[in-house]
Structures are given as C-alpha cells and as structure tokens.
Amino acid sequence: MTIKMTEVWKTFGEGHTAVHALRDVDLVSPQGEFTVILGPSGSGKTTLLNLVGAIDDTTGGSIEVNGVDLEALDVDERVKYRRENVGFIFQFFNLIPTLTAAENVELVADLTMHDGADRAAEVLEQVGLGDRGHHFPAQLSGGEQQRVAIARALVKQPPILLCDEPTGELDFETGRMILSLLRRVSREQGQTVLLVTHNAAIGEIADRVLRLRSGEIVDDRRNESPIDAGALTW
C-alpha cells in the first residue's frame, strides 16, 4: 500500500499558544518500503504516525492511502480502515493485562477473521512465543511483551505497520532482536513500515530514513544497503 502525504499540517492549540507539530509535510512511501523516522522529542514523529493511522486529524493538506483520502472518511470508515489496513506497535506495548498473550493476539484477529485462535497461535509461533501463549502479560519480560504486541499487529496481516519507539522500553539485546523480527516479517509479508525512533543507529536497517525537526522533514535519504538488525550497535 502506498502512503502519500501532501502539504500536511498539524497544529495543536490556537492563536499565540498554537504549536505546529507538522508543517507542510510531503511524503510518498511506496508499498513494502521500510522507513525509519528520526528526530528529537517534539519534532512531530508520533503525530505523523497517528495521522497515517487515522487516529488523529490533519489541520491542513491531505493523506492518501492507495488513493483513499483519509480526511474524507467518517468515523466508521476510519475504524474499518484501521481494522483492515493498519497494525500499531507502541513503545509501552499496551497489552491487555487480563488476557493471555494468545488472547491478546486473538482479540485483534477476531476483528477480521473467523479462525482467530489458530491464526493467533501461528503468529505467536512466528515471533518466537509459541510456547508462551498462555502466559499473562505480567508473566512476560519486556521483550516478550513487545513480541506479543508485534504479533498482535501482524495477526490481521495489515499492509501498513506503524511502530512508535518499539524498542524504547527495551534493553539493547532485546531491542535488536525486536528490530530483526520486524524487518523479517515485514519483508516476508511485503508491508509498508513507518518506524519512529530517537535512535539514529536504527536508521541503518531501513530502506529509507527521514529526519524531522520542528515538524518539518529536514532530511530524506535512501539507504542503498540496509544492514541486518543483528549487526546493529548503539
């Protein structure tokens, strides 16, 4: 799926308290591209992700996903768009504590398919947690929780994967393992990935690296030879 942002503005507040989170952003991300978005806090990284995920509205400009203008969608259509097209991965995992790992994945699988439980088991296997499905989040390590979150995002096979600081809460080794996993499954499934991070080193695994500063794209470069996540150091 191709993501196309044209002259996108996002402003919080009004008048002299207005903060421009995004300013006149233009971006085209073709299907299957793995893009890392870098920038300091407050640069607009997460805002950009939220707009593509249709959980927030633009102030100006347009975002099209495969030719569909997200701003033109009503509430129900946005829900359907997210359900069918977007997988989210958050910094704080956001797993539901009363559901087991398998059930957290199954919950999302149930939204789009009938064989949710089988599919959940498959995806957990894929992220290396085949034997941990019956554990509750509190019984899992941070890395395992994030892998469950990835499984949850992947289970409905969304064409777009939006990752907000997915390694922010993890130690170096676990972070590297998560990035490897993300890179592998997105390549296998041909997903368009937008991954937001503070960590410039992570850019080395991407097909493309964007830098945001004060809501503007200040650098947009292609990475001709992305390295394997296992070789990353920071």
């Binding site: 997460t46 959980i55 958050f90 704080f92 956001n94 504590p97 559901l99 059930e103 999302v108 149930d110």
Partner: protein
C-alpha cells in the same frame, strides 16, 4: 491565602466533579433522611408526651367489675393524682342513612373530666342547659361532615334518640381511632366516638359507670401502682385492664413511632454506607493515579502526616458539603412531616422543637462516614515510597482466568472479547465487591419498602377475604333468636346469615392475663375460616377455645392447657385451648355457639349477625335494605377497611416509587463511580482497542457486559438480603395487634431486579460517553494511563 496543596485538592475535586457530586448527593440524602426521620420521631414523641400530660391521659384504664370499690381504694393511694368513673359503651348511631356501631364516652357536663380531657376544636364544651348536646370526636365529625348544631341519632335501649353536635373535640384516647386492641384498624363508616354528658351516657346503656380511668402524679408511669391496681381490679371482676402503653390508640401510635425510629437508623446507614463506598472507590483511584505526584511531594519534604491530611480532605469536602445542608434540610423536613402528621391525626398538641443533637449528630455521621472512606486510601498515600512512585510505574496486576472460567470450563472457549469482560470483573476484587454491596444495599432499600406494601396487601386479603368470609355484621336493636337471624336470608342478595356474639373477656393462664374479645360463632360456621399455625384450614371445634397464636407466648400456654375466661357480668369459666390460629389482625378467642351455650347453661341471645352476600348482590343496595329494617340498629361493612386500604395502595405505591428513586440514586452513585474509575483505569486498553480498529460500540458492549455481570452478581444477593431485611423490619412491627408475616410477590423480586439493571445501564452512560471522547493518540503514548 490558599495553600498550593489546598488548591490541588479543590482543583482535583473540580476535575472529578461528577463523581464528587454523586458522593455528595448520596451523603446529603443519607443525612437528610436521618435528620427528617429522627427529628420527626422526637417531635412526635414530644407531641404525644405533651398531649398526655396536658390532657391528663390515663395511666391506667379499668373496665367492668366493681369499679366504685376500686376507685374508693385508689383514692387512698398517693400515687394517683386523679381518677374518674365514667360510662363507656358501644351503641348504634344513625347518621343520615348510615347506621354504625359507635362509642359513647360520658364526660361531666359542667366541665372537663379530671382524666382524659378533651380539646374542643370547634364549638363549645358541653353545656348542662343542653342535655342532648354531645361533643363529636374529630375523625367522626370529619367523615360525616358534622357541624355545630347538626343532629344525628343514637340508640337508647330500643328507641332512637336525637343528639345535637355541641362541639368537635379531639381526645388523647382517640388520636388513632381504634375501637379496641383487637380492632386497631377501623373504617370511619364503622366506628365513631361521641362524648355525651355523664347523665345522658348513663341513660344510653344498661351498664353505666362501668369504667375507671386513673391519672398518676404528673402522669408519670408507676409500675408498682399499676400492678397493685390491676391486680385488685381483676379481683373485683374487671374484664379489661390496660395501661397507657397498651391503650389501643396509643399502642397504634407507638407502632408508628417505632417505624420512624427504625427508619432513622436503617435508611441513613444504607445511604452513608453507599456514599462511603463510592468515596472510597473514587479516592483510592485518585491516590493510585497520583502516586508519582505523591512521590514528588514526599521527596521534596512533605511529611507523611501532611500527605495523609491532604487525602483525607477528599473525604472531608464531600462530607461537609453533603452533611451540613443535609442536616439542615432534614431538620426542616422534620418540621413539615411533624405538622402534617399531627394535623392528619388531630393530635391535640404539636411540639416542633430544635434538637441540637440531631443537627450535630447528623453532621458528625456524615463526616465520620466520609473520613472513614478516605482513611484507607489516605494511609496508602502517606506510605508511598518516593523513589518507586516517581518512576511512574504503578504495580501491574497479574492476570489470571476468571472465577467463572475456573468454575465453568466451557466459558474458556467463548469469544476472547467476552472473556475479557469476565476477567474484568475480578480485576479489582475490592471495587467489584463494593459495587456488589451497592447493588445489595439498593435492593434492600427497595425490597424493605416494597415488601411492606406486598405484606400489607396480602394480610388485608388474607384477613378480609380468606379468613373473614362475611360481608357485613349487623347489630340488632335487641337480642334476637336464631330463627330471626336466619330470616335475614330471605332478603334478596343475602346468601347466608349466622348469629354472632362478641364479648370482651379477660383470658388468664397460671402466669398472666390477656384482655381480648371472645367471638361466639355458629357451629360449622361458614363466615370465619381458621388458619392453624402450620398453614392448614381447620374447623371450629365442638369443645375448647381457638385463640390467636400470640396467646401462646403472652400467656405461656400450649394446646390442651386450660384458660380462665372472665366475661362481663361476673361470669368466669374454664375452657381448654383447642388450637392456635394465625390471623393477621388482632389476637382473638373463638368458641362455638353450642359449646358456649353448654358452658353458660342457657341459650345465648344473638345481638348481632354475620351476613354473606350472593355473588351478584349489589353491596350498596343490600346495605340500605338491611339498615332500613327496624330490628337492625347498626351495620358494619366487613370489607370497608379492605376497600379503604385498597384505595390507599396507590399512596403506598408512591412511597415505593420514592424508595425506588432513593435506591436508584444510591445505586447510581456507587455504580457510576465504580464505572468511571473502571474506565479511567482502562483508558489505555480502550484506546489500544480503538487504534487496532475496534469500533466504539463494540467496546461499549464489552464494558456494559462487564458492568452488568457485576450487577447481576449483586442482584441475587440483594434479593436475598432484601428479603431478610424486610422480614426483620416486618417482625419488628409484629405484636398481638398485628402479625406482619412477610409476603413478597414473585413479581416484586423480578421488578426490583429489572429496576436495578436499568439503573446500572443508566449509571454507566456517562462513562461510555467518556469512552467516546477518549483521545487515542494521547493515551497510547502515556507511560501510565
């Protein structure tokens, strides 16, 4: 200048104003009900007490026997301040077309009696110059619309005599117009009281000067004097001896007062408990979400005492805001209730006083309840470890299968979204428990009031339809034969007529006495059915007495024991108890006519008859047909009271409606607060679900399912607790005057449960609205939602 911590307190309250308002309103209602009921109780008690003193309400009343000797002996007793001998008799009255069995109470024509004085409300006291003048008791005057100068008739022997209304009066003896202890509920069409001069009264009965009333020094109760005079009265052949507390009207009012006293405890406790729990849930959540702030406060040098006091403030504020206006509103409401009540009953003296203890007590109750609610979370706040708290990580609860899944394994295979709802119930067991308790309390509140109405409705039907089969009692101008009674069946519409005789009697066992009425009924009577204590219908036996079940404990007797029966005219006989019967109203004694005649050694006259109508009879026409007959002096509609009560049921349902509204308010406060906290605690989960494409309606359904599950868990407990609370409430009203055996219609349980589900659905509406307003981007990014 307001300190920053106080500013934080008020701003936090502002941010959670809906929850604080819910707690404050519940607190307000609890304190208001306490103030209103407790002050009404105190005001009414004071009004009755003052009436008793001001109008020299008798401490002891003795009927029958050698009254003159008793009075002469009592005159030498220092404890008796005044005594009065008077004529009291139940005789027929004819007021317009209505013939009823009324009561005459003779009073001196020249001035107020020494005991049981009257308050003349309209007209004047009796005048010796107007020998046919009478004072009419206010309830009767109101019912028959009798004004000064109006006339009606009383039966003097066998002739009707006209009397003139000289005035309308109220009496401490008839504030509640009860004929006697066995007939505490009367219809104004069947009973009324007039006060003729002693001279006139003596001419209206064959048994003049038959009652003595004693007023002790300052009207104070004196058990020793009572025991002395009662014992002597019985020795002298008295058939009825009762103290002020046992006096029918006063006993009825005492039952009523007891109701106020119980309401003043039961209802406020429920509300304050509910308010406390709602406050606890809210403040606990606040402390939980503010752990990082508390950590910062402690790290910066705030003492644990300061933190404790700060969080106690979250209880103190709704406590003060709810209880001070609540106490004032309650006290003002009590004034209105007292005035309405005393006006309605024509209580001669109305005392509305300010009781500082109620004001301060009500405020104290509210404050204590709210501070106790805040104490546990405030203590938690004061013990927060700053280093841990400032990391911003609140301890995460471990997940596990719900109790439902563990008990019912197939539930493990239901869709995962519904499993989530099941597990949500056990997520915060304490909060779930409090919500359940809220449901239980609300159902108790509703069932106690609704159960009372069902019980009254049921006992009226049982007494006036199932037990008393007659449609009317007619009293003859003079004793008639059985044949004369049977002749009534010739009247079109009369299906059956049986002779009846009611005698005031004193029943004695070896341990105690009990004054009641002995009803002599035809053998194999079809007019009265006897319900044994095990629920079976039994026949009136050929031999022995059938007595109300209260006799068993009152006289410490059992079936087969002999009772001494003392009847008017110095007749004393012994007869064994054949059976105890379970009757809602009164504690009567019954004997068959044949047995009574055998014991008396003579044929008994019939002074009255019980009459049953045919199914197609026109009751009004028959009443006219019967009362038009010259031999019939009075008519008592057996269903009149039943009809009056049926009419009053509408009012009772209004009462239930009010209680439902109160119960709903209470349930709303608790469920709303628990819901709000549930949703606040789950913001991140809800936002995540929304982000992955779950629509809000589906999330609302999960939340609704979870909340309804908690409410459904509370409903059976609430119905059971409500049933037992109703039973306890009814039991507290049960005496020899009335047996309130609880009866709750199955539909009552059903409607109460439905009402609770409806309240739960409404309570969660604000929370669901909050879900709709949730900002997904903001919440999913927060470290600790």
């Amino acid at each position: 200048m307001v300190k920053p911590l106080h500013r934080k307190l008020f701003r936090d309250i502002g941010r959670h104003k809906a929850q604080f308002i819910a707690v404050t309103i519940t607190m307000f209602l609890g304190v208001t009900i306490f103030g209103a009921t407790y002050d009404s109780f105190q005001n009414l008690q004071a009004s009755y007490g003052s009436t008793a003193t001001e109008y020299h309400f008798a401490n002891l009343t003795v009927s029958g026997g050698d009254v003159d000797t008793l009075v002469a002996e009592a005159a030498g007793t220092d404890a008796v301040e005044s005594v009065e001998v008077r004529t009291v008799a139940d005789i027929p009255f004819r007021v317009g077309d209505v013939k009823l069995l009324g009561r005459i109470v003779g009073v001196p024509a020249t001035g107020q009696p020494e005991v049981n004085q009257l308050k003349v409300i309209e007209g004047n006291y009796l005048d010796p110059e107007t020998p046919d003048g009478v004072l009419v008791e206010q309830h009767m005057a109101d019912h028959f619309d009798l004004a000064i100068g109006d006339s009606f008739e009383v039966l003097a022997g066998t002739d009707w005599m006209q009397v003139t209304v000289q005035g309308v009066a109220s009496s401490p003896e008839y504030i509640w117009p009860a004929r006697d202890r066995q007939d505490i509920l009367t219809s104004p069409d069947n009973f009324g009281v007039i006060f003729p001069s002693a001279e006139l009264a003596a001419t209206l009965t064959t048994d003049p000067d038959n009652e003595a009333v004693f007023y002790y020094v300052d009207g104070e109760p004196d058990e020793e004097t009572t025991a002395l005079l009662s014992g002597r009265a019985r020795d002298l052949g008295a058939t009825n001896v009762y103290t002020r507390a046992e006096q029918p009207s006063n006993a009825g009012l005492s039952e009523d007062l007891k109701g106020f006293e119980e309401m003043a405890v039961f209802f406020p406790i429920m509300f304050l408990l509910a308010a406390s729990m709602a406050a606890y849930v809210m403040i606990s959540r606040m402390v939980h979400s503010q752990r990082p702030h508390i950590g910062v406060l402690v790290a910066n040098g705030f003492t644990r005492g300061q933190v404790l006091r700060h969080y106690l403030g979250y209880g103190l504020v709704p406590g003060l805001v709810g209880s001070i206006p609540g106490a004032i509103a309650g006290i003002l409401l009590a004034r209105v209730i007292t005035r309405l009540y005393t006006q309605m009953l024509s209580v001669p003296v109305t005392l509305v006083q300010f009781y500082p203890t109620t004001l301060f007590g009500a405020i104290a109750f509210g404050l204590v309840a709210s501070l106790l609610a805040a104490l546990a979370p405030a203590l938690v706040a004061s013990r927060v470890q700053p280093a841990e708290a400032m990391r911003g990580e609140t301890p995460s609860g471990g997940g596990r299968q719900s109790i439902f899944e563990r008990l019912i394994p197939p539930l493990r295979r239901i869709p995962v979204s519904w499993r989530m709802a099941l597990r949500g119930v056990g997520r915060n067991p304490r909060r779930t428990a409090y919500t359940i308790v809220g449901v239980v309390l609300s159902l108790m509140l509703v069932l106690v009031s609704w159960g009372m109405i069902d019980t009254i409705d049921h006992l009226m039907t049982r007494q006036f339809v199932e037990i008393q089969r007659e449609d009317a009692t007619v009293y003859f101008t003079q004793p008639v034969s059985r044949a004369d009674v049977v002749a009534l069946e010739d009247i079109a519409g009369v299906a059956k007529a049986e002779p009846a005789l009611t005698l005031p009697v004193s029943l004695s066992s070896t341990t105690d006495h009990y004054e009641t009425a002995l009803l002599v009924l035809a053998d194999g009577t079809e007019m009265h059915r006897f319900a044994s204590t095990n629920g079976d219908w039994i026949e009136l036996p050929d031999r022995g007495l059938v007595v109300g079940k209260a006799i068993e404990s009152l006289l410490d007797v059992e079936i087969g024991d002999d009772l001494e029966v003392k009847a008017p005219g110095g007749i004393t006989l012994r007869e064994p108890i054949a059976a105890f019967v379970d009757e809602p109203l009164g504690t009567m004694a019954y004997v068959s006519r044949d047995r009574a005649e055998t014991l008396a050694g003579t044929e008994l006259p019939a002074t009255s008859a019980l009459v049953a109508y045919t199914d197609d009879a026109d009751a009004a026409q028959l009443r006219n047909a019967l009362t038009d007959r010259p031999e019939i002096a009075a008519f008592e509609d057996a269903k009149a009271l039943y009809s009056v009560m049926q009419d009053y049921m509408v009012l009772f349902y209004v009462f239930v409606g009010v209680m439902l509204a109160f119960g709903a308010a209470m349930a709303f406060a608790l469920i709303f607060n628990a819901m709000s906290v549930n949703i606040a605690e789950r913001n991140r989960e809800v936002a995540t679900l929304l982000a992955v494409g779950t629509d809000r309606r589906r999330i609302s359904r999960y939340i609704t399912a979870e909340n309804l599950l908690v409410v459904l868990m509370g409903i059976p407990l609430g119905l059971v607790a409500g049933y037992y609370a109703s039973q306890a409430a009814m039991k507290s009203y049960t005496s020899d005057l009335m047996a309130f055996d609880l009866y709750v219609r199955p539909t009552t349980f059903l409607w109460a449960a439905v009402a609770m589900v409806a309240v739960a659905l409404v309570s969660q509406w604000p929370g669901l609205r909050a879900v709709r307003r949730l900002s997904i981007p903001k919440i999913v990014k927060e470290r600790s939602a």
